[in-house]
Structures are given as C-alpha cells and as structure tokens.
C-alpha cells in the first residue's frame, strides 16, 4: 500500500507549532519519549518501546569458519526488517531507501565502533568462530526507528549469553544451557543513537521526532555515542545544510541523552537478572500491561503543579477582561445554526460583488446583536422545520 501523504493543513500546523516551540505530544524540544525496555524469556531477546514505536531485537549465534583476512576474529551480522505490520507504507519485498539507510546505520554503529570483543568469539583460530547475528524487527512505526533499533540491538547484545564450548585439540564440544551455564558476550561499551530532526532549513531542531514530525522534517542528523562521551558515528541525511556549530551543539545534547538512556538500559538489565535469580516471572508476557475493564489504571502525565494557584491568579489578573460578546448563533440556512467563526474560505472563487453585499449585510446585522441572524442562500423551495412544539412548519 502506498503511504498516505500528510495533508497540507497538518503540515502547516506542525511547522507553526514547532516555530512556537511546541510539540504535538507536549514534549520539550530536547525530550525523549518514554522508553520501556523488556527482555524475553530467552537470552538475547529484547523489546524496546519508544513512545508508540516498538522494536524487537533477537540475538543468535552459530559456529562458522572465519573470514580469511581475519582468522582470529568472530563475525557479526546485522539485519533489520521493516514489515507491513509496522506501517502500511512498508512493503516486504522492496528494498526501500529507509531500509537501506537503517541497515547501514545499524551496521556502522555497532560493527565499526567495536562494541563487542570479537577476539573472544574465536574458538579455533582459522577454523571455527562464533557468528553473532542480530535481527531487528520493527513492530510499530511511530517515528525514530533508528534510536529504538540501536537501543534494542545493544540491549539484546548485552543480555545475550552464548553456549559454553570446550576445546580438546581439534574437537569442539558445544554444551547446551542445561549442561553448563552460557557465557555472556563481552561488551566494551554501549553505543546509542540519538536522532535530531531539522526544520525550516536548519533553524529549528527536535530530538526524537515522532512519525508526523518525521514527515515534515527537512533532514535528520544521527549521532551515536556511548556514555564515555565517545562519538561512534555521525550521519547527516536529507537535503539540509548544517553549520559546524549546529553539529557540535547536537553532539553535546546527545551526550546528555545517551547517559540517561544507558542508565535505563543498565537498570533494565539488572532488573531482569534479579527477577531471574529470584525465580519470578519474566518475559514479554509480564511486560504487556493487562487491560481489563476492572483495572482502572491509566498512564499519568506529569504536570508541573508547584505554585499553580499563584501562577493562575497572576495570569488572570494580568489578562484583559474577557469581551462582553455573547455568542449569537448565525443561521446560514433555516434549520441550521452557526456559532463562532470558521476560517476564511481559501477557495477564492466568489465574485467581488457578492462579497460586498455580504459585508454590508453583516454590518447592518451586527447592530442588532440580540436577534438571531438568518442568512439564507437556500435554493430549496420548501424547508421543513421541526420546532419544539413538535409541529412541522413550512417556510
């Protein structure tokens, strides 16, 4: 299915609100959405919810012969899939630009930055090494897939435990998890991607764009960092022109965000470890909130409540007195009423004469405020009104 384009009024609305430093969901410009990380029952399975964006990552391993150029290093393979489940605009067989971009960025973020110790994946040098495969599936697309995918991938890698091996000469015995405890991977550092969306030729920027904001943005800058303030990769995309200070500023913002997210990941990993040790229930089933009718829980939105009375009083006292106009319904045709004003019609096909007439009519009518105005252009001969008495009248 083709992706539905964003309507022009939505686009204008979004751009205007961004200029006024407001976002659709009430966040500030540098705020992330709520990140929830849950692990599955198997080691290496992780789901990340970034607001409504949902991404699942699964790590698996197998023994393969290594590359000729590097006989002592293990292999890593990354794959990201966009299925139509995530968004009707995704088509499963086509290599879309987004798919290529996300895959390459994920690869570069995790492979080139050497977050995993690949030497430790070697079993027999030159013959058998572990190949770690990370599969990321996008379950729901609500913007900012890159960040969610990178968090999911690195969490899954940190969570994963590979089977223990014993080497006797040239024989390799792989122990199943029941026989011997699996061994975790050695993760040097956790690179996390932070996405910045630019609007109006780089004048405004937002962190963590949601889907609507992504459709309106001019370009995207992705910076991957770890908590040691090392930049793992930078990529700018979209046809925007940036200035050097903007890039430097973004990197500073990214370092703050990354440390927060890294803490979240470590906490989630700890939680999971604790729950498994205690023998409690863990896995996805526990993470999905039960939505029963009898459960009246709702997500709470944090609101700034300090001094709310004082601020409200202040605003009221400073504001002008509200206008005395009592809204009087304008009846455009008999049987209908109109209160308030809609926007000026932008179709602009009316003649000037009609407009003048209407204007003069309106000014006359404004004098009689309390009366109900009837502007009837109706061409219908008979209009039936059902009045309160229940009788039908013909006009």
């Amino acid at each position: 299915m083709r992706e539905t384009p964003l309507s022009n009024c939505e686009r204008d609305f979004l751009l205007k609100s961004i200029e006024a430093k407001k976002r659709l969901d009430g966040r500030q410009t540098y705020d992330y959405r709520n990140i929830k990380i849950t692990f599955g029952t198997d080691y290496g399975c992780c789901t990340v919810c970034l607001g409504k964006t949902r991404v699942l990552a699964q790590v698996s391993c197998e023994l393969v012969p290594p590359k000729d150029a590097r006989p002592t290093e293990g292999l890593m393979f990354f794959n990201l899939e966009l299925s139509p489940m995530a968004s009707p605009g995704f088509q499963s067989n086509r290599q879309s630009e987004l798919l290529v971009t996300l895959n390459r960025q994920l690869e570069r973020c995790l492979r080139n930055s050497r977050c995993i110790d690949t030497e430790s994946l070697c079993v027999i040098s030159g013959e058998k090494v572990w190949q770690i495969r990370v599969d990321v599936h996008v379950l729901n697309h609500d913007g900012n897939l890159m960040d969610a995918a990178s968090v999911a991938a690195i969490s899954a890698l940190s969570h994963f435990k590979r089977p223990e091996v014993a080497i006797q000469g040239r024989d390799v015995t792989v122990f199943s998890p029941e026989e011997r405890d699996p061994v975790p991977l050695s993760v040097y550092h956790m690179p996390i991607c932070v996405s910045f969306a630019f609007f109006q030729q780089g004048t405004y920027l937002l962190v963590d764009p949601c889907e609507k904001e992504e459709q309106v943005m001019d370009g995207l800058l992705v910076i991957a960092m770890n908590k040691h303030r090392e930049i793992c990769f930078i990529q700018s995309s979209g046809g925007i022109m940036l200035l050097k200070d903007q890039v430097l500023r973004c990197s500073k913002i990214a370092s703050v965000k990354v440390s927060e997210i890294t803490e979240l990941i470590s906490k989630a990993l700890e939680n999971d470890k604790r729950v498994r040790k205690e023998g409690g229930k863990f896995g996805f089933a526990e993470s999905v909130a039960k939505e029963r009718i009898t459960v009246l829980t709702r997500e709470e939105a944090p609101l700034e409540m300090t001094d709310v009375q004082a601020t409200a009083d202040e605003i009221i006292s400073k504001a002008d007195a509200p206008p005395e106009v009592v809204p009087s319904p304008v009846i455009v045709a008999t049987g209908t009423g109109q209160v308030g004003e809609g926007l000026q019609s932008t179709w602009g096909l009316e003649d000037d004469d009609d407009e003048e007439e209407e204007m003069s009519d309106l000014t006359e009518r404004e004098k009689k405020k309390d009366e109900v105005m009837v502007i009837s252009d109706s061409e219908e001969e008979e209009v039936v009104i059902l009045n309160q008495a229940g009788q039908s009248k013909c006009s």
Binding site: T101, R229, I234, V247, S255
Partner: protein, 245 residues
C-alpha cells in the same frame, strides 16, 4: 596493519605527506561528448568519473516526478578492477545503495531544483581506482560534471575526508589510513557559506576532539575548492574562446 605508523615522529604520513597536506588533485571537464556534462577526477590514486544527463523528462514511472522540483537520480558504482582484489559488485548491494543515497542528498541540497519542475537530473559516478576517499572523489567529480552541464547550483560542493591519529587531525586519508582502524570523517561542504551538505563519521572518537577534526576537514575542503575553481575557470576560458562568433 600492525607496524605501519600512520604518523611518524617527524610528522610524516605513510605516503610522505604532512598531516594537513592534500593529495595531488587533477581534473578534466567535458570528457564525454554525448553526455550533457561529464568530468574525470583524480585525487591521489583515487580516480572517479562522473556523468550528468539532464534535466530531461522523467523516464519510467510518471508518478516519480515532483510538481515543483526536479528529481535527482544518482547511481554510484565501483569498477570490479578498482580495488586490489578483483571483486564483482552487483549493482543493488547495500553499500552502493547507501552511497547513491548520500550523493543524492548532497546534491539535492546544492542544486537549485525549483527551476526545473517535473524534470529529472541523472548523475552517474563510477570509481575506476579506489584508494580511500571514494565518497569525496565522487562528490567532487559530480560537482564538476554538473557545472559542465550548465545546471544551476548554489555553490561548488567540495568533499574531503579527515582522520585523527595521536591527537593530530589528518586531512585527505588514503586507503591504508582509513582501514587502519582510526576515525574517518567525510565532510561535504559548500565552501563560501561553509554550510555542510553531508557529514559522516565512523569509528570512535572522543567528543572533545570533534571540533578540531571538523575544522581540519573544513580547511581541507576549502583548499580543494580552490583547485576545482581553477579547473573550472580554465575550462571556461578554453571553451568560451571557441564559441566566439
């Protein structure tokens, strides 16, 4: 790569250059007679060929045309003989697609596409010999080809790579320096306004080194733009003399 020092004590690199020295740059415009614009570019040992067709009517699906702008269509490919080992590169593979996408985005920022609604501009770039800085060579060659084709642009787009070794930024990396495991920053810049059309960096770098690295890349791009400028002006002189009548 163990044992090869990327930067010696006296400040010389593997090929004898100083830290901020660029490789030798040679370029030729108007290489192909039949294309609207073409250019050949050598940056050290990296050789790139760029060809531009357009603007012309959108071929293929009519739905791809934009009502208010021209569509830029880029294709990046490497010749099978371009690397040390012959490697057959299928056209649709991820790395080529990614490069093509980056090139397209770079030029969408620089070309004044609003002047050509419902048209298409094709840019084809091929790497004939790869010795580091593939993306930069492509961008530079494509800029010259666009100038040759008479397609209006805001400014030249110059690209260069920069790396970081032992607290010294290096400009214009060759293949050995790129694959040595250090940082590589590719920057595509419009020199006069210093606006960045594309920035791309791989491998770890501490945040504090980023300003110095970007500065080095910016300076390198500006130097490159001077060379490109000379090439274009010389070509202009030659061709305009001939069309006098």
């Amino acid at each position: 790569m163990a044992g090869l020092e990327l930067l010696s004590d006296q400040g010389y690199r593997l090929d004898g250059r100083k830290a901020t020295e660029l490789r030798k740059l040679q370029a030729r415009m108007g290489v192909f007679g039949q294309a609207d614009g073409s250019a050949y570019m050598e940056q050290g040992n990296t050789k790139a060929l760029a060809v531009v067709y357009g603007p012309h009517e959108v071929r293929g699906s009519r739905s791809k045309s934009l009502h208010d702008r021209a569509v830029i269509n880029c294709q990046y490919s490497m010749a099978t003989f371009s690397t040390a080992e012959r490697k057959r590169r299928p056209h649709g593979d991820r790395k080529s697609s990614e490069m093509s996408l980056h090139l397209k985005q770079t030029f969408e920022a620089a070309v004044l596409t609003q002047l050509y609604p419902r048209s298409q501009i094709d840019i084809y770039v091929k790497i004939l010999q790869s010795d580091g800085g593939n993306y930069s060579a492509c961008v530079n060659a494509a800029t010259l080809a666009l100038v040759d084709a008479g397609i209006p642009m805001r400014d030249y787009v110059c690209a260069c790579t920069a790396g970081f070794v032992e607290d010294t930024p290096l400009a214009d990396l060759c293949h050995a320096e790129e694959s040595g495991g250090g940082t590589t920053l590719s920057l595509a810049l419009l020199p006069r306004s210093e606006s960045i059309a594309l920035v791309q960096m791989d491998a770890r770098l501490h945040q504090d080194h980023l300003p110095a690295l970007m500065e080095a890349a910016t300076v390198a791009c500006k130097g490159l733009s001077k060379v490109l400028d000379d090439v274009v002006r010389q070509h202009l002189q030659e061709v305009s003399v001939q069309t006098r009548e």
